[in-house]
């Protein structure tokens, strides 16, 4: 799941400054789960912005709020058509994808990001999120015992551990587990230590064309005989 973090109030206030009527737009999926931009956070932000406005005298805004089930598909945004006509900008609390989909759907209005989209990960416990996947496009978890060295090793090395590992922790951050020690232990447990003894050549991310696109549907030629 995508994990994001709400931007600071200072930054949000700065970017909305030029606009009077602001729609705070939440997303009911990933950013709800990570507590960055669901209905609860939209309401809290709305209240906080009002306080800021009441306690200082720079700029008068008119806030409204709304949360759609998902921002990253056009169809969910249709309910916004009328509202969009009534505001000067939309501050989207969806992830970066959501912000862009909203922008694409409503070309005539400025869309601003309210969160920093941070990573793909999981809730370690209530209120704590950890990164797990870098979306590298070439998954190697079969060789690394289901533990991703690209995200969980500070250096992202494919042939670890490096010389900086100490008591199972990483030299870059003593509170952080060394991903390669985790991989070793898990492989040992699975009796697959031979996987450690191989060399994995570095990967050339530059060959991956960006932006990526995945086409799943078959390319059916017009006028082809349908059987």
């Amino acid at each position: 799941m995508i994990v994001a973090e709400q931007k600071s109030l200072e930054e949000i206030r700065r970017i909305i400054a030029p606009y009077e009527k602001v729609l705070l737009l939440g997303c009911g999926t990933c950013v709800t789960v990570c507590g960055a931009g669901g209905e609860r956070e939209v309401a809290f932000l709305n209240s906080a912005l009002r306080v800021a406005q009441a306690k200082s005298d720079d700029g008068v805004h008119n806030f409204s709020e709304y949360t759609v089930k998902r921002q990253c598909d056009f169809e969910f945004l249709d309910v916004l058509v009328d509202k969009v006509n009534e505001v000067d900008t939309i501050l989207s609390l969806g992830c970066g994808i959501g912000v862009q989909v909203v922008a694409e759907r409503f070309p005539d209005i400025p869309i601003l990001p309210g969160v920093n989209t941070s990573f793909m990960g999981m809730a370690k416990e209530w209120g704590v999120w950890d990164e797990r996947c870098a979306a590298c496009g070439d998954c190697r978890l079969a060789e690394t015992a289901g533990i991703c060295p690209i995200t969980r090793c500070t250096k992202g090395i494919l042939n670890g551990p490096c010389a900086g590992t100490k008591n199972g922790k990483c030299e870059a951050n003593k509170d952080m587990d060394c991903a390669w020690i985790l991989i070793y232990k898990r492989l040992e447990r699975l009796h697959q230590l031979e996987k450690m003894r191989r060399y994995y050549p570095p990967r050339n991310f530059r060959v991956i064309p960006r932006p990526r696109r995945i086409v799943m549907k078959a390319d059916i030629e017009q006028g082809e005989d349908n059987g």
Binding site: E39, E41, A48, V51, W126
Partner: protein, 703 residues
């Protein structure tokens, strides 16, 4: 709010905000189905007037029940699965006394022409007359004795039910226009019909004492319990001699024994043929009788008696317990050759009563000479003649009699209006299911507080009421133990739930769970209604079942802000205080100083329900400082302080980003062990004053 909050979820929330609380087991067990959860919660909030209002809606004579109800609700109370049930009856007594029930005046207007006769003025008859008057019928009560009340007057002794309480209710009925005909024994129903009564409610009780059927039962010095208590209650002071035996193990036996003690008997012994565990009398009654010096002899039964030398010689056999009988109690079996003699001055028999229905009534009778009725309509074999109370059930309880009187009034109304009986629609869902072990384990154990009793020495001299009343603090603390069954959280919109698992992870009682389909469920029979998940759900998908609970803080806050704006006192400080902790602690008086310091209290029903938005709203509307005051360790729920601090931190972070000092938001403990929060609060107000000054000066420098 001036800005429109357009949110599709909010709109739908509004549409769907109908009450969905489930009926708790205490209410199901109450013969009158009183809204116990509701009034207990109101007592916990210190709102006695409102509590009394709820009580009066469900009970025509709450002051009577407050003294003598056998409280089946407490037997059903789910708190007993955790520790001990809520002291519901004693709390009702508190609400009735402190809410000023005796001051309430009732009026009724006659809007119907059909006259109704009520035969018998026990609780069933009185209740029926009460509701028939409310429905606008002319009603007359016929009572054989000189005073109204039935067993309330001639059965239950005064030390458990002061006569003034019955008098007050009778006066109210007279004020409502009920016609009273005392010293009038009805001997024929036909006569009543001839007099123009269109419907008759027969509620003559069960006054005929059962006989033991043994030799010598007619001897002088042997008296039956009902007669004895009637004489005592009518002030006749029957002479008992020094040693008194009471035969029986029910409440009438207890009352007879305790009355005998009060009449000055030296030694009062209860003879019961089974053991203490089988005694049908209520445990409290037995306990209090023992405290007053009543002795008990178990597993004995008299077989014959005779009057000799001015005393009673009673022959008894010893018993042992055999197989359980149909009622599940073990049957006593006489032990051979165990006969022995005992001597007493008086022997009171209290082994049960049965109704005595005149043959001239021409009513069909059933088991134990009770009147046969249709259980739904209370109609007898004769058209227009209804019956209820002990005369139908055999000896039962005051509350059952009240419920049957109320039912009769409504069915008589249906009959006279030629309507098909509009049977109470039990459409509402009830809460069923036991608490799970993991829930029980996590619920805070809190000792049940009993109301104080008169010390035994003081009791036995006279017939003064034994049970005293709670003080405020005790009543509030006892009421707070209620688990608020059926008023918990529910997921209002499953499609809004993002299945984030927040509720599952944070619930202090491990209530929410993921079902096999991957959907979050909050089982109503486990939820403790703490509201923590409601405030934390990032999708705002969870609501409390009771609409009042959903609106409460918003409404109180807007009210406080409005009053503050009108008073223009400065600086404005808003305090969100736990309503449960405000009473009985003296904290309220020290907090409520808006005139002086500009402090405005927003009562909340547990600070764990407070959301960041509420605090921010106070600042938005001009508050210079906000404090949150909960009950700390005295809270009846788990983890509340932790969640308050989480939310306070969340708001403080926002405040500092806005450029407001974090000290503007403080938390206090209303019931801290080390006394007064007044000082802490004064410091806080002082600091806020200082901060205001500083900000004014800053502006001066700026300009």
């Amino acid at each position: 709010m001036d800005n429109e909050v357009t949110n599709y979820q909010n709109n739908r929330m509004r549409e769907a905000s109908h009450g969905r609380s489930l009926i708790p087991p205490c209410q199901v067990a109450c013969p009158l189905h009183m809204e116990i959860g509701e009034y207990v919660d109101l007592v916990a909030q210190g709102k006695v007037l409102e509590a009394l209002q709820v009580i009066r809606e469900g009970n025509p004579f709450p002051s009577i029940c407050a003294y003598v109800c056998t409280h089946p609700c407490e037997d059903a109370c789910r708190r007993s699965q955790v520790d001990k049930s809520i002291a519901i009856r004693a709390l009702k007594r508190f609400a009735v006394e402190f809410g000023g029930d005796r001051m309430i005046e009732l009026e009724a207007e006659t809007v119907q022409s059909e006259k109704v006769a009520v035969v018998g003025s026990g609780p069933a008859g009185l209740a029926c007359a009460y509701y028939l008057r409310k429905l606008g019928y002319p009603v007359a009560i016929f009572e054989a004795y000189s005073e109204l009340g039935g067993m309330l007057r001639v059965g239950i002794p005064q030390y458990r039910l002061p006569r003034e309480v019955v008098d007050t209710e009778v006066q109210r009925l007279i004020h409502m226009g009920v016609e009273i005909k005392t010293n009038t024994r009805v001997i024929s129903i036909d006569l009543l019909l001839d007099m123009g009564y269109k419907a008759v409610f027969i509620t003559v009780g069960a006054h005929q004492s059962l006989r033991m059927g043994i030799e010598g039962e007619e001897s002088p010095g042997v008296i039956d319990g009902a007669t004895f208590l009637r004489e005592v209650n009518l002030g006749l002071k029957p002479s008992l001699g020094e040693e008194v035996a009471v035969v029986g193990g029910g409440n009438v036996a207890m009352d007879a024994a305790r009355a005998a003690v009060r009449l000055g008997a030296d030694k009062v012994s209860i003879l019961y043929r089974r053991s203490r565990t089988e005694m049908p009398a209520s445990p409290d009654e037995i306990e209090q009788a023992l405290e007053e010096g009543v002795e008990t002899m178990f597993l004995v039964a008299p077989t014959k008696m005779k009057r000799e030398n001015g005393r009673l010689s009673v022959t008894c056999v010893r018993m042992e317990l055999g197989e359980p009988d149909a009622g599940g109690r073990r049957r006593p079996v006489p032990i051979e050759d165990s006969e022995h003699n005992m001597e007493f001055d008086t022997l009171i028999t209290a082994i049960g009563q049965a109704p005595q229905i005149s043959e001239d009534f021409r009513l069909r009778l059933g088991r134990g000479s009770t009147i046969q009725v249709d259980p739904v309509t209370l109609t007898t074999n004769r058209t227009g003649i209804f019956a209820g109370g002990d005369a139908v059930t055999g000896p039962a309880t005051v509350t059952q009699a009240l419920a049957s009187g109320r039912q009769a009034a409504f069915r008589i109304n249906d009959y006279l209006r030629h309507r098909y009986p509009s049977v109470d629609k039990e459409a509402e869902e009830t809460l069923s299911g036991e608490l799970l072990p993991k829930t029980i384990e996590t619920i805070r154990k809190i000792e049940r507080l009993e109301p104080p009793l008169l010390p035994p020495e003081a009791r036995t001299k006279e017939f003064k009421p034994v049970e005293l009343i709670y003080n405020w603090e005790a009543a509030v603390d006892e009421a707070r133990r209620c688990l608020r069954c059926g008023m918990g959280a529910e997921i209002m919109f499953q499609d809004k739930c993002a299945t984030c698992l927040t509720c599952l992870r944070i619930c202090p009682y491990h209530v929410p769970y993921l079902d096999e389909g991957g959907t979050i469920q909050i089982p109503a029979d486990q939820c403790q209604a703490c509201g923590i998940c409601v405030a934390e759900c990032p999708a705002k998908a969870i609501v409390l079942r009771k609409p009042y609970d959903r609106r409460h803080i918003d409404e109180e806050l807007e009210h406080a802000l409005k009053s503050a704006a009108e008073s223009k006192s400065k600086p404005l400080i808003i305090g969100f205080c736990c309503q449960y902790g405000l009473f009985g602690t003296g904290a309220l008086a020290s907090l409520w100083r808006e005139g002086k310091a500009g402090i405005w209290i927003v009562p909340v029903l547990c600070v764990a329900k407070l959301e960041g938005g509420h605090i921010l709203r106070a600042f938005e509307m001009g508050a210079e400082g906000v404090f949150v005051a909960g009950c700390g360790e005295r809270c009846s729920r788990e983890n509340t302080a932790f969640w308050v601090l989480q939310r306070v931190e969340e708001v403080r972070r926002a405040l500092s980003q806005i450029g407001l000092e974090q000290e503007r938001l403080q938390t206090f403990n209303l019931r801290a062990a080390d006394g007064d929060i007044t000082e802490a609060l004064d410091n806080f107000t002082g600091r806020i004053g200082g901060l205001c000054l500083a900000s004014v000066m800053k502006q001066e420098v700026k300009s």
